[in-house]
Amino acid sequence: MMTRPNRAMMRELEMASEAHTEEAGLVFHPMDQFIVKPLFGDGPVGMFTITNVTLWMGITILGIFALLVLGTRRRAVIPTRTQSIGELAYGFIYKMVEDVTGKDGVKYFPYIMTLFMFIVFANFVGLLPMSFTTTSHIAVTAVMAMAVFLAVTILGFVKNGAGFLGLFWVSSAPLALRPILALIEIISYFVRPVSHSIRLAGNMMAGHAVIKVFAGFAAITAIAPLSIVAITAMYGLEVLVSFIQAYVFTILTCVYLKDALHPAH
């Protein structure tokens, strides 16, 4: 229903010239918001081109800077509102890392905090109207998921040597079942980065696309109020999902890290 039939229609209409602007009354472009385009000019997107990705990632950085650096600049013992939000985020992730990975996982806390802050801010910033959601792109989430996956795997082998392979050998299961379980464990281990990345990107993309589809219905006067109500409801859900997905990404990172540090099943 989206671009392709519309395009085919346009092609025909271009022959018929005039009437085509009226025809485009109910047009859905739910995926247009995800297009990466250069910020200046109209050239191709090279590796170092300054694009909307750059802009919104920069805004993400500024948001984090504002919350965690400017918000805490007074170092007050009795915190201001911004400072307590920053402290809340710190305590939240610190406790998560400590609870899930144990005491020896705490030294990886800054990396996990980096991931969490980036994702949660990118998700929230992406909820602003007219914005671009960087975390809705598989390229972005896949890099983070692969980074986590590789880091955890390398760390597991460095810390435990071959003992890390014990993760796949379920010693509590009957001996006959172990090879099968090992196969399943290995598959699930290698699927981790895929599900890890697609979960985040898919959630972000899905919510934004659905909002955009509802927004497309607003063009019809009769159902416009319903559409606005639906957009509001979806937006509320998306705020929740934005946070939960960041939380889930982070806690799964912690779980994987725990596997690397304590591979015993």
């Binding site: 671009t3 995926m31 998560m96 609870d99 979960r199």
Partner: protein
């Protein structure tokens, strides 16, 4: 003509793929409902299991997202 048939198949497939979301909905409902049932039975242990709840919901939801992704791929990428 051939392209139209491919297109048609892709759209039908996208529609079918959306059924997967229903499964994810059932799964998420199951996780949350069982959590609530357990939490009401033993409220003191509920707070310690919220992380598990979210992980479970995330896993169940991810599969629905996969079906949604398949639908999107069929609609836009095939």
């Amino acid at each position: 003509m051939e392209g139209d048939i491919v297109q048609m198949g892709a759209y039908i497939g996208a529609g079918l793929a959306c059924m997967g979301m229903g499964g994810a909905a059932v799964g998420v409902g199951n996780v949350a409902g069982n959590y609530l049932a357990g939490a009401l039975r033993n409220p003191s242990a509920a707070a310690s299991q919220t992380a598990t709840l979210f992980i479970g919901i995330a896993f169940a939801e991810a599969l629905g997202i996969f079906s949604f992704l398949v639908a999107l791929l069929l609609m836009f990428a095939v």
